[in-house]
């Protein structure tokens, strides 16, 4: 046995997750706007991010039609066959069979949002059947002035009246293996991640917490990781080349954040 443990750490590396919005088998941007711009093939883009040092990839399916969702399963198979880092697939999951189909196609994890709110037992069933490690519960929330941190569903369109803190705890108790927290008020603003609630949940819950929404600079990621947040997700800044993953990771390393280089 060796005693040379000085190069190992007691924590996992902080993760950087680029997110690809996928519609009918293509990566698109401009979700909130009318004109969707085609950014290309999901496999090519995912591979490019892998080569740049992404720690995981998140594929969010925003297909409007059943045909689009079938195309998505082909895409997931191709991503699984080409990518050598883990990837999570979210969007449009309603029942246990949807989860099975995505995992069977090769996804490492699935992300459930509205369906978990409508039917919380889905989290229990999915984690028992497939293991907590592949069940991510995504929570979109508002920075309400009264600090309720209200959960919203259906892409931020529907208010639920639920408190994010309570829902996050319930999701973990039911078997979620990771939480993906998106602050809707910050999404697309470039003002930085929401740090208060997201940091608190990352420090107090027993599962990893991913922050999403609002990141524009390396400093935004540094701040999130200083709050104990386990991973940072972003889309537009990476797609538009405003911040490249290699320069982000270098900046994080310089700031003393434990990242995989």
């Amino acid at each position: 046995m060796s005693d040379t443990t000085n190069t190992t750490s007691n924590t996992l590396r902080k993760r950087i997750l680029p997110c690809l919005d996928m519609r009918d088998g293509r990566v698109v941007k401009g979700v909130k706007f009318v004109g969707l711009q085609d950014l290309g093939d999901p496999v090519e883009l995912a591979l490019r991010y892998e080569q740049q040092g992404a720690d995981e990839i998140v594929l969010l399916d925003i297909s409007a039609s059943p045909e689009g969702r079938k195309t998505q399963l082909d895409v997931i198979g191709r991503v699984a066959g080409n990518l050598s880092i883990p990837f999570t697939v979210g969007g449009g999951i309603r029942v246990l069979d949807d989860i099975w189909a995505l995992l069977d196609a090769g996804a490492d994890k699935v992300s459930i949002n509205s369906a978990a709110l409508n039917q919380p037992g889905l989290i229990d069933a999915a984690s028992q059947q497939f293991g907590s490690q592949c069940i991510v519960v995504a929570i979109d929330f508002l920075l309400a002035p009264d600090s309720l941190y209200e959960v919203v569903s259906h892409g931020g369109r529907t208010r639920t009246g639920r408190n994010t803190r309570d829902w996050a705890r319930e999701a973990v108790q039911r078997g979620a293996g990771e939480l993906l927290l998106t602050c809707i008020d910050r999404d697309g603003t470039g003002e930085g991640f929401e740090l208060g609630l997201t940091g608190e949940l990352a420090r107090t819950l027993s599962v990893p917490v991913v922050a999403s929404g609002g990141a524009r600079t390396a400093q935004h990621f540094v701040e999130a990781f200083e709050q104990g947040i386990d991973a940072g997700l972003a889309a537009g800044i990476f797609h538009r080349n405003e911040l490249s993953i290699p320069e982000l990771k270098l900046a994080l390393q310089r700031a003393g954040v434990d990242v995989r280089i």
Binding site: T8, S9, P208, A231
Partner: protein, 196 residues
């Protein structure tokens, strides 16, 4: 990456998707063959993949007649690679499923990992003992259980506590992490660990 005609048999333990592992073996230039039962003609190396939990994987291995096949594979020192739960089942037993006997090729017990968060999920450094001709690097782990210590350990990782990252006995190598999900580092290890 080298290319060779070696045939790598991936044991289908019925516990999950093998597409990523199969693709990683093929990217390493080897031929991947999925095996439900021990059809070992022309197979140069076996992989016990990293999907599923201890008890059900052992049950499937037993039902599909793998126990005698693996025993003679071990006795003849024919190459094998174990990944994640595929490392764990090489040992005697696991806290994950008490009462279930492991393959028992290696002495020791699998225990719950006392880590800051469960399951352990993410990238962590793998550090080989000095004297091993293997590169250190960051690998991707997904597990709640580990082997804390073993005679055959050659590399270590720490998350909450220190545990075996890689064990080796003869031509058998097993790792607690997922090389098929560990980017370029994982591909390097697979290329070294899969027979040429």
């Amino acid at each position: 990456m080298t290319s060779s005609n070696s045939r790598i048999g991936i044991i289908d333990t019925g516990a999950g998707n093998l597409a990523s592992l199969q693709a990683a073996v093929e990217r390493a230039g080897r031929i991947a063959v999925r095996l439900k039962t021990p059809q070992l003609d022309g197979i140069d190396q076996l992989i016990i993949p990293g999907q599923g939990r201890f008890g059900p994987v052992m049950q499937t291995l037993e039902e599909r007649q793998w126990l005698p096949a693996l025993s003679s594979w071990f006795k003849n020192d024919q190459p094998l690679l174990g990944i994640c739960v595929g490392l764990q089942v090489l040992f005697d037993a696991s806290e994950e499923d008490p009462g279930v006997r492991g393959l028992g090729f290696l002495r020791g017990e699998v225990r719950r990992l006392h880590s800051p968060k469960q399951p352990m999920m993410g990238w962590a450094p793998v550090v080989f003992d000095s004297g091993n001709d293997e590169p250190n690097g960051d690998a991707y782990f997904v597990n709640s259980f580990v082997v804390p210590s073993a005679q055959e350990a050659i590399a270590w990782t720490q998350y909450g506590e220190r545990f075996c990252a890689v064990v080796r006995v003869g031509t058998w190598t097993a790792c607690q992490f997922h090389p098929e999900k560990s980017g370029a580092y994982g591909a390097t290890l697979l290329d070294r660990w899969l027979v040429k």
